[in-house]
Point group: C2
């Protein structure tokens, strides 16, 4: 009950839904905007979150987009149980070691104490692979390309809406292949899907590459990640894709008879994108007036606000409905006809909710067969549009908004990405403005630990094209294994 | 581990995927067909089930159809937490009494014993309404129309795939209204959506009406249900819609200021459809050769099987691809190009999986610019179609299949619905062929209990148009409160 209680009480007071300034305190702004734009709320149990309809509509957009990508490639959705017998989880030693401290455990069911406790899934490798070993026997059964959209639980003491919650929603893809090459192809494919989601839909430029040993998924041979930079200079791990090698297939005995009759273990991958991604989206684009949603992901792309008096109400509404009808075949449009709120209140609400484009329709627009458009991203420069060819004009405006949001974020990323071979400078940057730092590193976990202790920064990823960079480790001056990206992480 | 172990072992033996005959033992047939058509499998923990991609694709169709119905009406999707503090669940006394015996309880989290145990949601009334009381203050906030698609847990000792599992998937709609009239409108709207899902998409005729006190949802003022008849003469409760009255709003303090400034409690409804529905679908239409899926719900409506030798392989495949392309803009089509299986194997597999229509394409069809169509429902009467206007012809065939499945089920329902005022006849029917029995009943739970003890039958529903039927109770001969439907229930 403790977390967020103050925020909850204070909400009732704000009739006009005022929010803290992002420029003053990004963390308070974030919580405030998430609560007041009705994206989410705190759940009654510690660490839990309610995703409200407006927030969930954005997640449904992510599902729609990602399902299309996956299904076109041949991935199928399925559903595996929530409860994992503890003995199954234990099978892969690294895996259970990594997840043990975060588990929620069911000890009682149907009024009785259970003989073996059940773990609420923190991820589904073990339960899925137990099934894979039953289903896979021959080369004919491969590849297996299965995904599920579900809820997982990893115990957290402090909630940060979307970014850190005990229960979260995600998709987890789990594939099995005949060769390591095919598995690696899948790992990179998923990583590319994630990049596309972020760059094309979320308008967020990202970096990506391989993880260090310390940051690797428990049980994986190698982990690859997408990393995004937040406005406070911290990095958000935005999605991960794992090459599991044969670690799990050997433990769970997932083997197949190849075309020559020889028995072989499968090569596996897993990859996931969580509701955490939405937290990054809100943080990156939002401003002092609330959310700013990129048109390609916004549940409502265009809101129409009619402005009328009693005398012209009927005519204005009719005109507004005509505009709505024109647009709704191709765009996600909402005509806000609520009578209990003023146009001013509506402007404020839809700005807070980050709708990319507002169309205002009053007597003047009606008479002149025009509409007035206001872009959420800068909220200046009202644009007057004729109603012929309105769909094309609006689409062009939305495309422009999408591009300008990406460019703004890209500029920020560039300005806050540094490269240095001086550890003093490294420390200075992390102690002040933060951001991404590119630096050579030897690969030794001890160096990484010390850098973290002294600067709070960890390795985020080794970009593919910087694997061959030669030189001395920024910390210990021994031979480096490439130029890594460091940052303080969320 | 115990349940289904035998089935799992035996599966490996069936290279040809033979199944038990439905006509011989419907229960063995059902388990067999669900496992072998790869709809689902047993999960490692007792009572749990894995929904495999083919089964999940059907659930995704249900989601697609039901989301459209709900969203057009203004219902929005959201997500509420999995864990409910026990103290919240306890608030509504009838509710906690009803669900207590079925709960799974988390006692440990993050390596520590919890101060207050958390219940894994058996349904979400309590956790959602705790939030509603925070969100609803004014008449302007109403109605609240929220749905969620999620997993719930109700402890079961014996698994029956889809029909009875400890964890299942469902949608649960939860609405709050200003008046009881509006709430009742919603209750009936949801009931009608369910009826449409069953009748129009599942090709299953259903009965519906009010539940008796004993069969009512724990905490509801009234429950309405959809009931379907299975081939073994037993009833399946296929969906429910509850009028919650103000039972929960008073306990959770969900109140609003009306237009006159007066404080009032909201009127609430909840309604749900579960993955159990799919069990009914499979039971009703399937036959000795496997599943039979109605075209409107089938993930694959048409499968194309090319038949070729080395010499004409390229030409036949090219022709098959042309056919696939023609159909796929409007229908869910699969061209089975797998080289490792014979056409005979493929026929068998797609029959087992219940694909409504098979198109065979070989040299003869290629030369004559035709295709050969075989309907799954009767598997006789091969139909030759010309390729001009193929989409229209195939669509017509599918529509015909949908209708004939409904009619067949309707005939069965009619033939197995009896009406009697003799308790001797009632007992005789329930002891032999079973089915639905319409009979007058006094409304006294004692009579219902005795009838159940003596015949295994319970009241299933009081149809709306049989509420006014007068006469004597079939059991105690006191004044009846309408003509009820009785059946043995799944």
């Amino acid at each position: 009950m403790a977390v967020g209680f103050i925020e909850r009480i204070s909400m009732k007071k704000f009739e006009k839904k005022e929010i803290y300034k992002k420029s003053k305190d990004i963390s308070r702004w974030y919580t405030d905007v998430v609560l007041k734009s009705e994206l989410a709320d705190y759940g009654p149990a510690r660490g839990t979150m309610v995703i409200r309809p407006y927030g969930f509509a954005i997640w449904e957009r992510v599902q729609e987009i990602f399902n299309k990508m996956m299904k076109d490639y041949g991935v199928e959705n399925a559903y595996f149980p929530l409860f994992i017998p503890y003995s199954l989880l234990e099978k892969e030693k690294e895996h259970v070691k990594g997840f043990s401290p975060e588990l929620a455990v069911v000890t009682h069911g149907g009024g009785k104490k259970l003989k073996e406790p059940l773990v609420v899934r923190p991820t589904s490798e073990t339960i899925m692979y137990e099934m894979y070993s039953k289903w896979i026997h021959s080369w004919r059964d491969l590849p297996v390309l299965i995904n599920q959209w579900n809820n997982v639980v990893r115990w957290e003491m402090r909630t940060y809406l979307f970014l850190r919650t005990t229960e979260f929603l995600w998709q987890e893809g789990h594939t099995a292949h005949k060769t390591e090459e095919k598995a690696m192809e899948m790992v990179l494919k998923a990583l590319n899907w994630y990049r596309e989601i972020y760059e094309k839909y979320f308008a967020m430029p990202v970096l990506y590459g391989a993880k260090s040993e310390a940051e690797r998924f428990a049980g994986a041979k190698a982990t690859y990640a997408i990393e995004a930079l937040m406005p406070d200079g911290k990095a958000l791990q935005a999605a991960t894709s794992h090459n599991l090698g044969q670690n799990f297939s050997k433990v769970f005995d997932i083997s197949f008879q190849d075309k020559n009759g020889k028995n072989q273990y499968v090569w596996q991958t897993s990859w996931g994108l969580t509701t955490r991604a939405l937290g990054g989206l809100f943080l990156v684009h939002g401003d002092d007036n609330g959310l700013v949603l990129p048109p390609k992901i916004a549940p409502i792309q265009v809101v129409i606000v009619p402005i009328y008096k009693d005398a012209n109400k009927k005519r204005v509404l009719k005109y507004a409905e005509k505009i709505e009808e024109k647009l709704q075949s191709e765009l996600r449009v909402k005509l806000d006809k609520r009578e209990e709120y003023t146009p001013g209140y509506k402007f404020n609400e839809w700005e807070l909710k980050g709708v990319p484009l507002r169309l205002e329709i009053g007597e003047k627009e009606l008479v002149e067969s025009k509409v007035k458009a206001v872009k959420r991203v800068d909220m200046v420069g009202q644009i007057v549009l004729g109603i012929d060819d309105l769909v094309t004009q609006v689409r062009k405006l939305l495309d422009g908004i999408q591009i300008s949001l990406f460019k703004r974020a890209e500029k920020f990323l560039k300005e806050n990405t540094y490269k240095t071979d001086s550890y003093d400078e490294f420390k200075k940057i992390m102690g002040t403005k933060k951001g991404f730092i590119k630096a050579l590193w030897c690969g030794n976990p001890d160096c990484e630990t010390k850098i973290k202790e002294e600067t709070k920064a960890t390795t985020r990823a080794l970009p593919f094209d910087e694997r061959d960079k030669k030189g001395k480790c920024i910390y210990c001056k021994k031979e480096a294994i490439g130029q890594w990206i460091f940052a303080q992480a969320y």
